[in-house]
Symmetry: C2
Subunit: 132 residues, 2 copies
DNA sequence: TCACAAACGCAAATAAGTTGCATTTACTAA
DNA sequence: TTAGTAAATGCAACTTATTTGCGTTTGTGA
């Protein structure tokens, strides 16, 4: 098994900074916009590959949001769940420790049944205060 | 407000039959394959529009599965959650009434906070028994 | 400071889903 | 029973998200 060395590049550091400052998961498009404000204009292929590397090294993780057709990402250390407005796409973080516990217990149960759990995806779609 | 009349077509009835026989959510591609076995070869545009109509009339509902990039659908009356193998794509239904309750209570809480909940999406990604 | 793998950019390809428009068909009302 | 109308369908072209191949640049350990 060959170990890939993880390099420090200005782009990568900036990406991680942006994610650590963001309160919500970001898509490639959103990330591109935020990078532009920091004077980075990387090719989209580079960004997709950054996401791949950063997810593989557990720095980030994928988040699939109910109302969106594109993948979103967040810091792996900041995993939580979201409400997404189907009209304006606004995203709100939803905290519910009981739900977390219930999910953890379900995952535990699945592990005992011979499945290896890698991730869970949960989100709620609906209309936010402004949109209904 | 104009009411659209919902028509019965052979294709539509077959689609609903296929979903009622299926134990797991189906993507457009999977549906196309099953329709072919019933000698239906509809255009993909037609299928996307069928999904639109059938979801709007609450016969079906969208399901986003963790390990997949394409939308899946299931009978609205059969809503449950799924485990998806990231390797072989096998899908297993996961029953957990406590989790359901917890989600319902969270949705209730969100409603009281001025949000209109339309749907939730939950799935677990991992490796099935055969793949690890 | 050199070599090599990791990171990057560009162009083209693929996959999922959508739109416009013309044609066909199910259903309703006469 | 039939004629009119809106729903359903098909086709081609388009958009958006993501991936692949390949050549070039750059960070980092020896």
């Amino acid at each position: 098994m060959i170990k890939k060395t993880f390099r420090n590049t200005a782009l990568r550091n900036t990406i991680l900074e942006i994610f650590s400052r963001s309160e919500k998961p970001l898509s490639i498009v959103e990330l591109t916009e935020l990078l532009a404000k920091n004077d980075f204009f990387p090719n989209k292929t580079t960004l997709y590959r950054q996401m791949e590397t950063l997810c593989a090294t557990k720095k980030l993780q994928q988040v699939s949001l109910a109302a969106s057709s594109s993948m979103h990402y967040e810091l792996a250390s900041q995993h939580h769940h979201h409400f997404v407005c189907t009209d304006c796409n606004q995203t709100l973080c939803v905290e519910d420790s009981d739900l977390e516990k219930q999910i953890a217990s379900l995952e535990q149960k699945l592990s005992l049944n011979g499945l290896k759990v890698q991730a869970h995806h949960f989100s709620i779609a609906g209309l936010c205060e402004n949109c209904h």
